[in-house]
């Protein structure tokens, strides 16, 4: 089947177009996914900054009740998987999940290890380094951000506080948002790209095949049938009429068939002429 004229004409463009469109779609999807993920991280980092700023006054006044309420309310928001503040030692002081309060965070866990790899922990990180992606105990995909809460002059100068001015970091806010909306959007995008790919492939491969079949393969088949008929001795059959190269080829065949017919009938005519001459002589 692959040796046929139709296969030779359609297989290479079909493979080339299909492969190239699929490669481009996968790369485009990958780039869009990375951009959307970066946007989500950017958005979440801004949200974490807003939470730290909102809670700043309560922290300054050491109003733990208000701070607990802020964290609880944020934790109840749809799509928020966890919100917690832990101190410099890694003890969770406030959490939307009350069972986590007073637990010690593992410094080797994802999100902590980035700062705690060396003997002296880092005190500042780039925006993208603050983010981590993981699947939580409930089986939800989560994008979490850790934002450091720095020691400011207002903190160590306040009468109620005991922080030393030498301390750079007081604690960390950790917020995790569900990846579900992002994954849903990516799923929709994936589906639309697959539909687009299939449509492009049907149009290009199908279009090329249909045009080839109509303009080349069918005329060649008709020509082959005509030549087969001549071979069988059916010299009265008309050649297929086309105004292209196949038409010219058909005309040449027709001319050849006419000459062949004339050549074949010549000896018969001679024989009959000789017969007539003999009759008249006798």
């Amino acid at each position: 089947m692959l040796k046929s004229f139709a296969a030779k004409a359609t297989v290479p463009p079909a493979i080339a177009v299909t492969g190239f469109v699929v490669v481009c779609c996968i790369l485009l999807y990958s780039v869009i996914k990375t951009d959307m993920l970066n946007d989500a991280i950017e958005h979440e980092t801004n949200l974490a900054g807003t939470i730290v700023k909102s809670a700043r006054y309560a922290m300054l006044k050491d109003d733990r009740e208000t701070l607990r309420n802020i964290i609880d309310n944020i934790g109840q928001q749809k799509g928020v998987e966890h919100t917690r503040i832990f101190n410099k030692k890694g003890v969770i002081m406030f959490s939307a999940h009350t069972e986590d309060v007073n637990k010690l965070v593992d410094k080797k866990a994802a999100g902590c290890i980035a700062c705690h790899t060396g003997p002296v922990p880092l005190t500042s990180m780039g925006r993208m380094e603050q983010a981590r992606r993981y699947i939580n105990e409930q089986g939800h995909s989560v994008i979490a951000i850790t934002v450091p809460i720095y020691n400011e002059p207002d903190c160590f100068n306040a009468a109620c506080h005991v922080h030393s001015p030498n301390l750079k970091l007081l604690g960390t806010l950790d917020i995790g948002l569900s990846e579900e909306p992002l994954q849903k959007t990516l799923g929709t995008l994936r589906g639309r790209m697959i539909v687009f790919c299939v449509m492009v492939l049907i149009l290009t491969v199908g279009g090329v095949s249909a045009l080839l079949l109509r303009n080349v393969l069918l005329p060649i088949k008709e020509l082959a049938n005509y030549v087969a008929a001549i071979k069988r001795g059916d010299a009265n059959r008309k050649a297929p009429a086309y105004r292209d190269e196949i038409g010219e080829l058909a005309c040449s065949f027709e001319e050849m068939a006419t000459r062949l017919k004339a050549t074949q009938s010549e000896p018969e005519q001679l024989r009959s002429a000789e017969g007539d001459g003999a009759d008249s002589r006798s």
Partner: protein, 185 residues
């Protein structure tokens, strides 16, 4: 006068099969027949090259799918000497350009009826793309793009060489048939 033609460019064209000499003596015919049979054997083994390249690429892809975990890690000194990996977007742009130009070159070779086959070189280029994505920590996201690009390019290469060899074998077979006809007559 010395022949100034590039010998490598001469290799690209399939020399026309020698026509059996009708006036040749039987020993000549036997020699031509032997040569033709040898050429058919060579063409048959050459037509399988595409499958070997494809198998090699699939083996490389299986290793890449596991993020090259079966290979020993690169020593830090070599890693530092290599420098910072290019961004995933840059590598993807390179992959699109490479796939496009490779497809165009293969199609033009098909059109020109040239014998040239570069499937094994493409396996090397594709393995390099796997390597670049691995060092840019973006192999997981882009593995299937490289894989589909490889299957497309090597599929076209295989089809081209298989088709070319089959046509050449058919021509050689005609030579054998002519020799047989002469022998019988």
């Amino acid at each position: 006068m010395a022949d100034t033609r590039d010998p490598s460019s001469m290799k690209r064209f399939q020399p026309p099969p020698p026509k059996p000499d009708a006036t040749g003596t039987p020993p000549d015919r036997d020699a031509v027949r032997q040569e033709t049979v040898q050429r058919i054997k060579r063409l048959r083994s050459k037509s399988n090259r595409g499958l070997w390249a494809m198998a090699l690429f699939i083996a490389v892809s299986i290793v890449a799918l596991g993020d090259f975990s079966i290979l020993p890690p690169l020593p830090p000194s070599i890693r530092a000497a290599l420098g910072k990996a290019p961004s995933a977007v840059m590598i993807s742009g390179g992959l699109v350009l490479y796939t496009f130009s490779a497809i165009i070159l293969i199609l033009s070779r098909m059109m020109g009826g040239k014998e040239e086959y570069s499937g094994f070189a493409h396996v090397g280029y594709l393995a390099a793309f796997y390597g670049f994505y691995h060092f840019a920590k973006a192999l997981n996201e882009n593995f299937w793009a490289v894989f589909v690009a490889g299957i497309t390019i090597l599929g076209l290469e295989s089809y081209h060489i298989w088709n070319f060899c089959n046509e050449a074998i058919r021509r050689e077979q005609e030579v054998l048939d002519s020799i047989e006809r002469l022998r019988k007559s």
